[in-house]
């Protein structure tokens, strides 16, 4: 049976090193299968997260050959075998151990976003076309790969000021919900720091759910922020009519 070499990061908060493992290839194998094979036969304490094995839960995020990917969706036969396949934890988050990182910051950001708030007296009817637009955002499986790749978090570590693409997607899903009545523009500007995003689209490129993060979520939200805070006409209208 053909074998491939996986070069896997082994270590914890205090550092670590890459370790090579030889893994027998099987038909249709994905990177997560290879990691499980290492666990079962060579390194039982190799830490990795996974749940669904079907790209539905967003647990198995890692950097495979340098690209942020879901391991359960990355086929071994799509990667070159003449050199070791590298598997590293997501760089934007602190390592706990091996491939498991501390993603708890994301859960704290999520808490800042005001939840769905139906407009008073709404009738619970919606058109599929309006729903379609929002369902795109609700497909998010919280793999945090977009957070991993975004330079504002990855290179500039602005976790205090910036919420990251995942939470723009989340906010867009609420803001554009046909029956929602809350406003999140101030929060987007001041707490999630949407202004830091300079529309590089790297997040969209890695999203396994193919959500058009930049075009469909971030840009429309930026427009809302601009309308609310920098458009003088809108501001005067707001002052006169007391609209939100």
């Amino acid at each position: 049976m053909a074998e491939v070499t996986l070069r896997v990061f082994r270590g914890d908060r205090d550092g670590g090193k890459a370790v090579d493992y030889q893994v027998p290839l099987t038909e249709g194998m994905v990177v997560l299968d290879a990691i499980h094979s290492i666990q079962a036969h060579q390194a039982p304490d190799l830490a990795v997260r996974w749940n669904c094995k079907a790209a539905k839960c967003g647990s198995c995020s890692a950097e495979v050959n340098g690209r942020p990917s879901l391991m359960c969706k990355t086929r071994m036969d799509a990667l070159p075998h003449d050199q070791p396949i590298t598997v590293y934890p997501m760089k934007s988050f602190p390592v706990i151990k091996d491939l498991a990182t501390d993603v708890s910051w994301n859960y704290r950001v999520n808490k800042k976003i005001p939840p769905f708030q139906p407009r008073p007296g709404v009738e619970w009817k919606m058109d599929q076309r309006d729903v379609d637009r929002v369902q795109e955002f609700r497909k998010c499986i919280e793999c945090f790969l977009c957070q991993d790749v975004c330079h504002v978090l990855r290179d500039h570590d602005k976790k205090q000021q910036f919420g990251g693409p995942r939470f723009f997607v989340r906010s867009a899903g609420l803001e554009m919900h046909p029956l929602d009545g809350a406003s999140r523009t101030r929060m987007l500007k001041e707490e999630l720091g949407i202004g830091f995003c300079n529309i590089t689209k790297c997040c969209t490129e890695v999203c396994p759910e193919e959500i058009h993060i930049t075009d469909n979520a971030i840009i429309p939200l930026k427009e809302r922020v601009v309308d609310e805070f920098y458009d003088p006409v809108a501001m005067i209208v707001r002052k006169i009519f007391g609209a939100k």
């Binding site: 914890d12 099987t26 038909e27 249709g28 194998m29 994905v30 997560l32 299968d33 666990q39 079962a40 036969h41 039982p44 304490d45 190799l46 830490a47 990795v48 997260r49 996974w50 749940n51 669904c52 094995k53 079907a54 790209a55 539905k56 839960c57 967003g58 647990s59 969706k73 086929r75 706990i96 151990k97 091996d98 498991a100 501390d102 993603v103 859960y107 999520n110 808490k111 939840p115 769905f116 139906p118 619970w124 009817k125 919606m126 058109d127 599929q128 729903v131 929002v134 369902q135 609700r138 497909k139 499986i141 919280e142 609420l174 919900h177 929602d180």
Partner: protein, 574 residues
């Protein structure tokens, strides 16, 4: 120094073990009652098994088929369950599911819509009418995200990546729980007046399964050890359509929505074989029937190249398939190189769901241990001998809510329990023992052998001989497990985690095998080759399993008589 003071302790009125649909719905209800609520889960929040549910949740909303109502849903559920269901649960479930769905919508869930803007419903096996509210084929994700955000904003404390390994008692009553943080390996103790078990299923004891690593029957095993009763453990559902190829994804679910949307099953000769097994309902027959039919076709040499059947939806327009079944489209395209809009999938049975579980009171989810409640897949009764598709997600929200409510009310009436350090110390020793051994097998090897054995001997078709062999094999596996060894440190160590999960799987596998051996008939998901017929005498009985002084003991419980009005509904033909 006492053991409990050596590590962190948290106190709650209601502790919920499990953050799937059932646990989260229970937590929301308990919070609404003013209880201080803690939720513990083995994975990160939002990753519980519920996230994988695809096809939809069943509720007689009658948005499309106006004739539908709770009576028909009740009748379908009872008939699907071959009448050994807890009829009161089936009634409450059918009556309350529509309100629970509306509630999800009011909390922000966005279901697919009908032409006139209502929630769209799709057909599913065993349901008389189009009944499954859905979001494409990612209904579970929508449900878990909605509940998760609701709960987070209401303010429960979440302990994620924390595994409970023991329920603590204060005399007869439950007093708390003991566990470890997966991340650090440190221990943690919870003190609570009420505990709700919502730990989901048991599929990981079988080799071919749609279930994730979490589904190791922990809650059932812990409740059993704490004195609670297990019910109907012989009824394990094999879903007819799991992927059969490539090997790495064997067992992965192919949602029943494929058939609900018009998918056809054929054997290698191109025959729609369901004509032979259930000419009336065909592909939309109940899961037990379809799973056995595929199994039989393969066994008799009419299977597909990788030992399954062909499931084909490619006669529908490609755009329609991609819109209604997007994750199936991607799953096959990316993992199996099959374009389902152009050709058939290969599918075969996969261990999917357990109808059995902790025996509970229908109204409250109360177990026989004071203060201990259960809901969701971990609880038994609603589904009888076979669950209908879509009836699990609705089960989670109907009985999750009821259990959360009852747990909060119980906590209000109860004084704080006292924790017993000797129990904590004993469990600490037990959990750490595999580290101390210098020789012994790895838990992975024992788990592998358990899965192989359960697949072969306690699978779709069962016999007296196989089940006895299984019991003997389980004794050997238990002996091996008592000597297993774990390497490495306590920090995020999957080998160690598996050693704990394995202990639960062994207990639950034994309960399933005992109950399967005792039921000398075939009914729903339980098929005995040596007793192929259903017998009325058995239809009146359920199997209960309890821990009597350390020995697993089984007894028969007579089912209570159904009230006349429900009998009447069942007798009506539709």
């Amino acid at each position: 120094m006492t053991a409990s003071s050596q590590h962190e302790t948290h106190e709650h009125d209601v502790l919920i073990i499990g953050a799937g649909g059932a646990g989260l719905r229970a937590a929301i209800e308990a919070l609404a009652q003013g209880a201080r609520v803690g939720v513990v889960c083995k994975s990160l929040l939002g990753k519980a098994h519920t996230v994988m549910a695809e096809g939809g949740l069943a509720a007689a909303m009658a948005n499309l088929d106006k004739e539908d109502d709770w009576r028909t849903h009740f009748r379908d559920t009872m008939r699907g369950g071959k009448l050994v269901n807890n009829w009161r649960m089936a009634q409450l479930h059918a009556q309350e599911a529509p309100d629970r769905v509306r509630e999800l919508e009011q909390w922000g869930a966005l279901f697919d819509r009908t032409e006139n803007g209502e929630i769209l419903q799709r057909a599913f096996g065993g349901h008389t009418f189009r009944r499954l509210c859905h979001v494409g084929d990612r209904t579970g994700l929508e449900m878990i995200r909605t509940l998760q955000d609701r709960g987070v904003h209401m303010g429960f404390d979440v302990y994620m990546e924390c595994t409970i390994t023991k329920l603590l008692k204060d005399g007869d009553r439950v007093a708390g729980a003991f566990g470890y943080w997966r991340e650090t390996g440190k221990f943690v103790t919870f003190k609570a007046k009420s505990i709700v078990i919502a730990t989901g299923g048991i599929g990981k004891s079988w080799k071919i399964t749609s279930n994730s690593w979490e589904c190791t029957g922990d809650g059932m095993a812990l409740a059993y050890e704490a004195g609670a009763e297990l019910l109907d453990m012989e009824f394990v559902q094999f879903h007819p359509t799991g992927m059969v190829w490539p090997p790495g994804v064997q067992g992965l679910l192919v949602t029943e929505a494929v058939r609900g949307e018009g998918g056809l099953l054929r054997n290698k000769n191109g025959e729609r074989f369901m004509e032979k097994y259930d000419p009336k309902k065909m592909e939309l027959s109940t899961r037990d029937v379809v799973a056995r039919s595929i199994y039989t076709e393969v066994k008799e040499g009419r299977g597909s190249p990788h030992g399954g059947a062909f499931l084909d939806i490619s006669h529908k327009p490609a755009e329609y398939v991609k819109r209604k079944l997007p994750s199936m489209y991607h799953q096959f395209k990316e993992l199996a190189d099959v374009d389902i809009t152009k050709g058939p999938m290969e599918v075969g049975p996969t261990c999917h769901y357990v109808m059995g579980g902790i025996r509970v009171d229908a109204e409250t989810g109360r177990s026989s241990v004071p203060g201990l409640f259960a809901a969701g897949e971990a609880a038994a009764g609603l589904h009888g001998a076979n669950r209908l598709g879509g009836n699990s997600l609705s089960d989670l929200i109907v009985f999750g809510r009821r259990a959360g409510l009852a747990a909060a009310e119980h906590a209000k009436k109860t004084a704080a329990p006292t924790l017993d350090n000797s129990q904590i110390e004993a469990t600490e020793r037990e959990v750490l023992a595999p580290f101390a051994r210098t020789s012994g097998e790895s838990p992975y090897q024992i788990h592998h052998d358990l899965q192989e054995m359960m697949q072969n001997l306690v699978g779709i078709f069962r016999t007296d001989e196989d089940l006895r062999k299984a019991l003997a094999a389980l004794e050997k596996l238990k002996a091996r497990a008592s000597k297993m060894r774990v390497e490495g440190s306590r920090v995020f160590n999957p080998g160690w985690h598996l050693s704990r999960d394995l202990a639960c799987m062994l207990t639950i596998s034994e309960a399933c095998t005992h109950a399967a051996l005792a039921r000398k008939e075939s009914r729903g998901a339980h098929s005995r080759l040596d007793f192929p017929k259903s017998e009325d005498v058995w239809g009146a009985k359920n199997h209960v399993i309890v821990n009597k002084g350390g020995a697993m003991t089984l007894f028969e419980a007579q089912r209570p008589e159904m009230p006349a009005e429900l009998k009447q509904i069942l007798a009506e033909d539709k």
